[in-house]
């Protein structure tokens, strides 16, 4: 099962405001791009047009692993605003 199908069973309350923003000017200098493989929800991808890293913040499970692995500090990272984001029913 791919991550996207798994996320479809979760409850998300999506904010219009992104809680993770990629500072592309810093991100561009990173060769490792560990965000691409650490994210349990597989939300990071590379844009075919620009080659830049993209994030689909609405499926975020809020684990914070991307913040931990980002080697250059390219992420402006916060939790979603109160009342938004994933709402676990089991946990």
């Amino acid at each position: 099962m791919d991550p996207a199908s798994k996320l479809s069973v979760d409850i998300f309350k999506n904010d219009e405001e992104a809680h993770i923003i990629i500072r592309q000017e810093i991100c561009r200098q990173c060769e490792l791009k560990p965000c691409l493989r650490i994210c349990p929800a597989g939300l990071y991808s590379i844009s075919e047009e620009s080659g830049e890293i993209l994030i689909e913040y609405t499926g975020c499970l809020e684990c914070g692993s991307c913040r931990v692995v980002c080697p250059c500090g390219a992420l402006a990272w916060s939790y979603p605003r109160g009342g938004f984001g994933v709402q676990y029913r089991y946990g």
Partner: protein, 429 residues
Amino acid sequence: MERIDAVVVGGGLAGLTCAYCLAREDIQVLVLERGDHPGSKNVTGGRIYLRPLRPYLPELWEAAPLERAVTKEVITMLGQGSSLTMQFTSDRFRESPAHSYTILRSRFDKWLGERVVEKGGFVVPQRRVIDLMKDDGRIVGVVSDGEEIRADVVIAADGTLSLMAEQAGLRGPLAPCHAAVALKEVIRLAPEVIEERFGLNPGEGAAHLFFGAITPGLFGGGFLYTNRETLSLGLVLGIESFLESKPPLETHRIFEAFKERQEIAHLIKGGELAEYSAHLIPEGGNKPLPKPYGDGIVVVGDAAGLALNMGITVRGMEFAIASGYMAAQTVKKAKERGDFSASTLALYQTLLKESFVLKDMETFRHSLEALENPRMTGLYPQWACKILEEIFWIGEGPKQRISTTVWKGARQGVLNLQALKDLLMLRRI
């Protein structure tokens, strides 16, 4: 502006326990929880051991919404296409009150939040804290989505990532060597099916750990806990070791490969995915935050790095609850003295040191050095499974003596200096 006694950032086990203990002493306490209710952002493996907690909070457990009393401990070591499973049970696990329970946090933490409110504490959901308020170096409150809330003491109970501990200058940003990432599926299955499949009496549960070829050469492992009507199936990966892994796999693909192993597939067969979650676990070499307090702040639970990997058991929730209890004891003393400076709040660390929390963490301080060894999940499980395969295999030709098979296998795999060193390292667990 009005000032309250204590503000707790985060409605998890540590924060809520602290608030519960403060509220019953008539100390004003406000819990700010960013989710829809306490527990809605929380994830556990998981299982909670109650014995260490009964001396502190004896009254809390009778009505608590726990899942199954664990009576069966199972460990599976996996090679490539082979595995060895050990199973242990004891009547002692069936004695009342039970030794440990499986638990789902969304339900449990919501219930604990209600107990806080019952004692007169305030729990405000949908409130994210983004900043600490500082005055001349000391913490004097928090900023929550635009609103300033002043308090004599801030309890940072905001989990492994703890942005509060970071902002308070008690540690730097969490590094890959300090954390593991856990991926988990909750899988719905009828209670009768769970009991029959795992060989359990009604209400009893199993805890099943997996290590070896599912995370070859990586620090990590799998877990499966039986809940009342669901299974919690998950995989833990040490982030530093994951980053160094070759080939560079994705976390969710390692998890899928784990699920596809026939040892797992038959256990979850017919189950329906109910939830997918991910969470960070403190794995900083079993080393807690060196100074979990400061002027006007106390750090509790995962935020203070209070979690322990002892190899066959992984613990965090008891430490969270006990640390919340001890933080509350400390705040009570500070309020009596009218002094919330670091010198008074240092009592918190003293209490932790006198309790099982820091005693256990000290005892097992070096256990991760043995467990992080890549051969523990790579070479050795593969080697042991290979020998067992040779022993059980009857081929076309004549069979060797079992002792010869073992001896030859040992010479190929473990009769060397490296293996002897690794064996000696195991004393640290």
